[in-house]
């Protein structure tokens, strides 16, 4: 609906955009503790899942991850979700991946209302 928004609303939107951009720089309280595959690791066998363990409970509605190949194409099964049994675990399944370098991008919301985002790579030989 962006194309039909009135000019004044757009201005407010742009103003909020600037606010958002600066807000996300410092905000962010759920910290990535551990990842499977490990951060910056080299694997002999393609993993069938990415699991990210955080320091705090996550909000399922706004927590997700993506896995991109070295061409920037999303290769995960687009099913990232917060684990029901462990609310600090974010996971997504993967199809069989060929050798290459993959980038995991994550963005999560913790229950203290702050957003954290980050990225790391892993390599399949």
């Amino acid at each position: 609906m962006e194309g039909t928004a009135p000019v004044s609303a757009r201005r407010v939107g742009l103003a909020l955009a600037a606010c958002v951009l600066t807000a996300t720089v410092a905000a962010g309280h759920a910290v990535l503790q551990r990842a499977e595959p490990r951060v910056e690791s080299t694997l002999k066998r393609a993993p069938d899942e990415v699991k990210l363990y955080f320091s705090e409970r996550l909000e399922p509605a706004y927590s997700s991850l993506r896995v991109l190949n070295d061409h920037g194409v999303q290769v995960d099964r687009r099913d990232s979700r917060v684990d029901r049994a462990n609310p600090a675990l974010l996971r997504a399944t993967l199809p069989p991946l060929p050798p290459g370098t993959y980038k995991v991008l994550w963005r999560v919301l913790a229950i203290d209302a702050d957003v954290t985002e980050g990225a790391f790579t892993f390599r399949i030989e």
Partner: protein
């Protein structure tokens, strides 16, 4: 525009706090009788009506900005569906809804201009408003940093609620009291002076209790959120806390002057003296309230920053204090001991100076001098070099894959100078296996590896190795030091001496989904078996036969052949059946890492439930333990009354 978020949060917090204080102060002062007092009551209630609107307005701005942040789309702030999604589908949103629901009820309640001339009606009306305001303020903790603490969420939230309500009583009460004192200090407000004096006295007592509650809950909050000196001095969150303390100091001085000097003067027999004291009190209370609002702005800023316990401190000083020096340089112990004793004597004298009344100034001066001399004598020996990255968190975990990768990088880039074993090979370089090197923070090693040591000929590797590669090398150096210390670990478990962390590794078995060594933590002990066929065949057969016995006593066997092979399980034969995992992938990394602790073609390591290596059987397969010997060590471990904490996934 970050200022908009901060302003909205500050306005919302300040108005919520002032609402609590306004009704608390009214109830504390009691039903007003005099005309001036009734006018003050009306002014405070009118102010509360405005405050509740400010709280609702700023709360809505906060929600819209947060929605845009949650959605990562600025325009989401203007989309009702996105806003409702943020409110209804998140915990912070539901907390927001509950709080603002209470504020709406409070606004409606205040909008009703009921007749409260009767004392009981007046108390009921103000009391109900106070309860609603307190509930709305207390719910702020429901989605605060405290709510994210696990375990111990409930106690952390309870402490945070106490801190918020204490702020409401103290700061809100101050702001509400100021206009009463101002009115009563004027000629026209003389009718309310006894009422104002009584209110000020009652508030002084309540504020003292609130301040003690604030300080106690503040210390507990700081311990939970900041955790360390590095977090305090090296993160934005910690520095905001220091700024809060800097603002708190003059507030405490003002409060002490108000309580000890001005309040007693209010009851002076001469009406002129009383009025003058009241004017001074009005000014001081106003100043205290302004400083308290600054304090609240700093608190709001703290909620927008990463708590220090999760932050990455940038150490601001070129040195730090390390008690480990006393272990490495025994000659400095006497000086540290002397300094500590002088400082303790100084602290005792300092406490005495607060208690005794006679000759307080010389005792205080002597106490401070003793503390200063003690610090001057005792602290310099503890000083070690520090760097901005001293407390930096490693990028990679302490994992066999990382250590093996670091080993390869070390051989290529470092061994030429430091020697293959890290001992320096005759060069005047620090032994990388030594205790002093092991005791350096990982972040300090990271700085030295990245930036080099210009004075020592150490090149900078920042441009030659990626950050991950540098952390892999540091993990390897940590493992070198651990391997040197592991020589003292033998076949017998030593009780309450868990220190050697078992590096994690991937347990990949054939086509099954891979697990990790750490998956056993808190559940089972692990007997890690590094084996080589054909020499280990007899031993593996023995282990296969005794697996059921070991399994019953809580021991899992994880076997790692020297060479990775999908046929590893088949190579052991079908009889007796091998029911424990045989690692078929990534073996080289695991074997290279664990052979640092247990060299040889066959070795077995007992890893406790917390993840520490507690016994090592090295050497020939014939010297490996019977199931009964493993059982004896397991029983010893079971005797440990307080198991050590789980090791961190990263080195420090």
């Amino acid at each position: 525009m970050r200022a908009l978020l901060l302003t909205a949060l500050w306005s919302h917090l300040a108005s919520s706090v002032l609402l609590v204080g306004a009704f608390f102060m009214l109830l504390l002062a009691g039903p007003p009788r005099a005309t001036t007092a009734r006018r003050w009551d009306g002014t405070v209630v009118a102010g509360a009506r405005l405050l509740v609107l400010v709280a609702l307005g700023s709360g809505i701005v906060w929600l819209l900005v947060r929605t845009a942040v949650f959605e990562n789309r600025p325009h989401a702030a203007l989309e009702p569906r996105a806003v409702w999604h943020a409110v209804l589908d998140t915990w912070p949103g539901l907390v927001w809804l509950a709080r603002h629901g209470l504020l709406v009820v409070l606004a409606a309640f205040l909008a009703i201009r009921a007749n409260v001339a009767d004392s009981r009606n007046w108390i009921a009306a103000r009391g109900e408003a106070l309860v609603l305001a307190m509930l709305a303020l207390a719910l702020v903790s429901g989605s605060s940093h405290a709510a994210a603490i696990t375990p111990g969420t409930l106690s952390a939230v309870a402490v945070d609620v106490a801190h918020l309500l204490g702020t409401g009583v103290w700061l809100g009460g101050l702001v509400a009291l100021a206009p009463l004192l101002r009115a009563a200090s004027r000629e026209a407000g003389a009718d309310a002076r006894p009422y104002a004096v009584l209110a000020a006295r009652r508030f002084s007592r309540a504020a003292l209790i609130a301040m003690l509650l604030l300080m106690a809950s503040g210390v507990m909050n700081a311990l939970a959120q900041v955790e360390s000196i590095a977090g305090l001095a090296g993160t934005t969150h910690g520095r905001l806390l220091l700024a809060k303390l800097a603002v708190l100091a003059p507030i405490l001085v003002l409060a002490a002057v108000n309580r000890t000097r001005i309040l007693p003067a209010l009851s002076a027999p001469d009406a002129t003296v009383g009025r003058s004291a009241m004017r001074r009190l009005t000014a001081f209370v106003g100043l205290e309230a302004v400083l308290a609002l600054v304090l609240l702005a700093l608190a709001a800023a703290m909620t927008l920053t990463t708590p220090a316990r999760h932050g990455e401190p940038v150490w601001p000083l070129p040195f730090r204090l390390s008690p480990d020096v006393l272990r490495d340089v025994p000659a400095t112990r006497w000086r540290a001991l002397l300094g500590s004793q002088l400082a303790i004597a100084g602290v005792v004298a300092l406490i005495a100076s607060l208690v005794v009344r006679r000759r307080r100034a010389p005792v205080l001066a002597g106490a401070l001098a003793l503390v200063a001399v003690g610090a001057g004598v005792g602290l310099p020996p503890l000083v070690v070099d520090a760097y901005p990255t001293t407390y930096k968190r490693p990028l990679v975990t302490y994992h066999a894959g990382s250590i093996a990768s670091g080993m390869a990088t070390y051989r290529e880039h470092c061994a030429a100078c430091h020697g293959a074993t890290g001992a320096g090979d005759g060069r005047p370089l620090p032994d990388l296996r030594s205790a002093p090197t092991s005791r350096r923070h990982a972040g300090e090693l990271f700085w030295l590896v990245s930036r080099g040591g210009p004075g020592h000929g150490m090149p900078a590797f920042e441009g030659r190795l990626s950050e991950a590669q540098r952390w892999h090398v540091i993990n390897f150096i940590r493992a070198l030091g651990a391997a040197e210390g592991s020589k003292t670990i033998g076949r017998q478990v030593e009780l309450d001496r868990a220190w050697l962390i078992a590096p994690d590794f991937t347990v990949a078995v054939g086509p099954l989904a891979p697990g990790a060594l750490r998956d056993h933590r808190g559940r089972r002990l692990v007997l890690l078996v590094l084996y080589t066929l054909p020499d280990s065949r007899a031993r593996m057969t023995e282990l296969a036969r005794s697996y059921d016995v070991l399994s019953v006593i809580g021991v899992e066997i994880v076997a790692v052949p020297t060479h990775a092979s999908p046929e590893a399980i088949a190579e052991l034969g079908a009889s007796p059946p091998v029911l424990f995992p045989i690692v078929t992938d990534g073996n080289a990394d695991i074997v290279e890492t664990y052979r640092m602790f247990a060299p040889g073609p066959h070795a077995e390591l007992l890893i406790d439930r917390q993840g520490y290596i507690r016994a090592i059987w090295r050497g020939e397969t014939g010297r490996m333990p019977q199931a009964s010997a493993v059982q004896a060590q397991v029983e010893k471990l079971n005797e440990e009354k307080s198991p050590p904490p789980f090791p961190d996934d990263h080195v420090h």
